[in-house]
């Protein structure tokens, strides 16, 4: 029992360590953002107050933030999971769209099913659609060795246009530029149905599903044979092959699972928020944001939850800053700075340099330098 506790403590400690640097980078980015706001003649205090009140000011606002967070957790998880197998899934976008379309189709066509079953089928259909979309890219890589980045980008556009085609034909709400609405039995439970406090927010059960999926992904990656093999292929395919691990199978599997997460994101977004799919002029951005979320979350499922929350706050609070007369682009800039700091490992390098300098200073004190 004690060992078990130790184990939990250990992995908690490791997780904390892994997110410490990104966390510091975030703080530094906010400071840099403050200087920027000040330089443009506005008050950083007013700006950040608007940002945080706008995103977290009351339960309704917080609820809306969490709606965005829900999607970002899942697309972030999707990118992070593939990365653990050494794959860059830049196609979360297309997998998200396929998930939405599949969810709308099942949610609309299977009207009449009991609610819980219908919801479940809707989500599973979405996840599978995303999984197949990404799994195909993985299969191409395993079969003919073509690069997943290029293929998944191409698949994004196929998804976009396929979705638009279906929405304007078989799924079309006559005379409109969007699909049919899903049946009430396919809709996710909303917090506003039971809690007065969330009356003006669309917050739905999806947030809990997303967090649960993230925890499951963490377990899968770090505690199971499948995770062991996926990570092993990610770090060293040659040694994995030597260890009797089927590298190609794991590439397909990792892509497929990665796609499940993005597809689920699309399905949850449809069944919880939109209830239909619009004819899209361009990509939604949820998938691409997933890349940022994964990066800031250090590709760790738990880190992804936290970083998705951060991005949710930034995206929902931004417009509030605008009301205060501060350009909402500042939020975009802060997001950019965060990514820059995290991607460049800025904090890690600074900490190392500080430590080295300290050593030299200590020597100076001891009088060892001429």
């Amino acid at each position: 029992m004690e060992n078990r506790l130790d184990e939990i403590k250990n992995s908690a400690k490791n997780t904390l360590k892994e997110i410490l640097y990104p966390l510091t980078a975030i703080v530094v980015s906010f400071l840099a953002g403050a200087i920027l706001v000040y330089a443009f003649g506005n008050s950083p205090k007013v700006a950040y107050k608007a940002l945080f009140l706008g995103a977290l000011g009351d339960l309704n606002k917080f609820g809306e933030t969490l709606v965005t967070t829900t999607t970002l957790i899942l697309t972030g998880l999707s990118v992070a999971f593939a990365y653990k197998c050494g794959l860059f899934n830049i196609g979360a976008e297309g997998q998200f769209i396929m998930g939405s379309v599949a969810a709308v189709w099942i949610g609309w066509a299977l009207e009449g099913l009991p609610p819980s079953i219908h919801v479940l089928l809707t989500l599973i259909a979405g996840a599978l659609a995303g999984g197949i979309w990404a799994g195909f890219v993985g299969w191409l890589k395993a079969k003919v060795g073509s690069h997943e980045v290029i293929n998944s980008i191409m698949m994004n556009y196929i998804a976009l246009n396929l979705s638009n085609y279906l929405i304007m034909t078989v799924l079309n709400e006559p005379g409109k530029a969007f699909s049919f609405e899903i049946a009430p039995t396919a809709k996710l439970w909303r917090f506003s149905q039971s809690f007065e406090q969330f009356k003006y927010s669309r917050l739905h059960i999806g947030i809990i599903i997303a967090i649960f999926v993230a925890l499951a992904a963490y377990y899968l990656l770090n505690k199971t044979v499948t995770g062991y093999e996926i990570r092993s292929v990610g770090f060293n395919p040659d040694a994995s092959e030597y260890g009797g691990i089927n590298v190609k199978r794991n590439i397909v599997l990792a892509m497929l699972i990665s796609g499940l997460f993005s597809g689920l994101a699309g399905a949850i977004h449809t069944a919880g928020v939109q209830y239909r799919v619009n004819n899209l002029f361009g990509l939604t951005g949820y998938g691409f944001d997933g890349i940022s979320v994964a990066l800031v979350g250090n590709n760790n499922p738990i880190g992804v939850i936290l970083s998705a929350l951060l991005f949710g706050v930034l995206q929902k609070g931004g417009p509030m800053m605008q009301i205060e007369g501060i350009p909402k682009e500042v939020v975009g800039i802060i997001q950019g700075i965060i990514l820059l700091f995290v991607a460049s490992n800025f904090v890690r390098v600074m900490v190392q340099r500080y430590k080295e300098n300290k050593e030299i200073r200590a020597q100076l004190k001891k009088g060892e330098v001429k």
Partner: protein, 506 residues
């Protein structure tokens, strides 16, 4: 002779280890001074301190009698210290001259003065008899030549004192001889050289003086002319080392590995193994001798399932395993020490405990419910670490932070603990020091004595001759002949390795 480098009382600790403990080192002008020690003894740490890559915790450094603080490599370079790393730092598509001037380019106005660069390189090359072509691309020249480019790079920057880190590890015997000549010519023109190595033969043939380091401490400094290989080995390892491998007569049993008419292709799709027949029986070591690149790697990969067998058959214990997956072959009783521990043997970014189960990750032993039993896996790793004397602070350390010898021990521990009927060891002592080599040899003999079939592939003829009961010589994808180890000699094997048939009939 005056001292060019004096390091006094140098200490440096890393978390968990004292890499250098009060080290004193004096290098005189115009001498080749070897730093001898096993992997992880602290040689490289000491040299990295001298080159400014590490800051010492304690101690003083004097260059030509002047006290200095070397806070980074630029300071070292300005003091006339140059370092040639074990892994070359060259830009392959650039020419020799471009690589040499990189970072201190001669200019004419705003533009690069390439002609002057080439002239200067030629001049230096002539002066020290390095014979490099400044216009050749680095990717087109041999490893030995690349090393000379590295040496030239330091000379171009005005190095008076050259540090060479394991310079012979990547060279062929011929190239090693040439390097010896180059070093002699350098010191004859007033340069001083510090050589890091753990190879005793080279110490004897190349150096004037040798300082032996063990566990971070200086054990002794000797004149090379007044010592012997045996004395150096004993001081380096800390006990008497037997170079001869003791083994009883083989108790040969039934055939374990049978290879029949095996053909396999290399990475370019050319036939590399051209019909090989082999048999390894229980209780014997079969050594495959041969010059590198004669199909040995492809043969082993075909046997272990890492490469397709185009034609022929592989049987383990009578079971046909031809073109089965590596997993199935492992499950049929294969243990395999691969030729490249970084590429194949370990996942460097995994902790030791995760590495300790590579190959048996799907075993029921390590399963608990739908997950893996990490508690048990860590205990298992601890057990292996203890039994095979892997030097590491704990099982949670990443494989990449272990020394080569200890990485190899970890691999051997893992492969032997699976209790395989067939053990394939491919260049199992490559890059290891004396102590570790002895350890590996003992383990292989031990497996043979236990009645396992051992297939040994090595480019070191000494190793093959010491360990094997029978020796198969491979040349151009074929087995030229299989001879009894007791009834052959270096000359006969050498002839066969070059493709000639032996006179005797076996």
């Amino acid at each position: 002779m005056s001292a060019v480098i004096e390091m006094k009382g140098i200490s440096k600790s890393f978390p968990g280890v004292k890499a250098n403990d009060n080290i004193n080192l004096t290098v005189n002008e115009g001498e080749i001074h070897v730093l001898l020690g096993e992997n992880g003894a602290g040689k490289s740490t000491l040299m990295n301190i001298l080159y400014g890559l590490y800051t010492p915790d304690e101690g003083e450094i004097f260059v030509k009698g002047k006290k200095v603080v070397i806070s980074n490599p630029n300071v070292a370079i300005s003091l006339g210290i140059g370092m040639v790393h074990q892994h070359f730092m060259l830009v392959p598509p650039f020419t020799v001259a471009e690589n040499i001037i990189l970072g201190s380019e001669p200019r004419k106005g705003l533009s690069l003065d390439m002609n002057r660069a080439i002239e200067e390189v030629l001049e230096l090359s002539k002066k020290y008899e390095l014979k490099v072509d400044p216009n050749a691309k680095v990717q087109d020249i041999t490893v030995g030549m690349q090393q000379r480019v590295e040496i030239l790079k330091t000379l171009y920057r005005g190095a008076e004192i050259l540090i060479l880190d394991e310079p012979t590890a990547v060279l062929t015997p011929q190239e090693i001889k040439e390097l010896g000549i180059i070093l002699k010519s350098l010191v004859s023109q007033g340069k001083s050289i510090i050589l890091i190595t753990h190879k005793l033969k080279e110490v004897m043939s190349m150096s004037d003086k040798v300082t032996i380091i063990r566990s971070g401490k200086v054990i002794d400094t000797l004149k090379t002319s007044e010592t012997s290989i045996e004395e150096l080995a004993e001081k380096m390892v800390g006990r008497k080392v037997s170079f001869a491998v003791k083994k009883d007569d083989a108790k040969i049993g039934k055939p374990i590995l049978q290879v029949k008419g095996l053909k396999a292709l290399d990475n370019r799709g050319l036939e590399a193994v051209k019909g090989v027949d082999l048999e390894v029986r229980s209780g014997e070591i079969l050594g495959i001798a041969g010059v590198d690149g004669n199909g040995q790697n492809e043969l082993i990969q075909a046997i272990t399932g890492l490469r397709r067998t185009e034609k022929g058959q592989v049987l383990i214990n009578g079971k046909d395993v031809t073109n089965l997956s590596t997993k199935e072959i492992i499950d049929s009783g294969l243990g395999y020490i691969p030729e490249d521990r970084h590429k194949r043997g370990l996942i460097l970014n995994f902790p030791l405990y995760e590495n300790s189960i590579l190959g048996s990750q799907r075993s029921k032993k390590f399963k608990k419910g739908i997950g893996m039993d990490y508690k048990k896996i860590r205990d298992y790793a601890k057990k292996l670490i203890k039994e095979f004397d892997v030097r590491t602070p704990s099982e949670k350390v990443f494989a990449k932070s272990l020394s080569g010898g200890n990485q190899q021990k970890m691999i051997i521990a893992r492969e032997l603990d699976r209790d395989p009927v067939l053990l394939i060891a491919s260049q199992p002592t490559r890059g290891l020091d004396v102590g570790a080599i002895e350890f590996v040899h003992q383990r292989l003999i031990e497996q043979r004595n236990k009645g396992k079939a051992v297939l040994l592939v090595s480019l070191e003829l000494d190793e093959i001759m010491d360990l094997s009961d029978r020796i198969a010589v491979m040349y151009d994808g074929k087995i030229i002949d299989t001879v009894n180890a007791k009834e052959t000699n270096e000359l006969e094997l050498g002839i066969m390795m070059a493709g000639g048939r032996s006179e005797k009939k076996h």
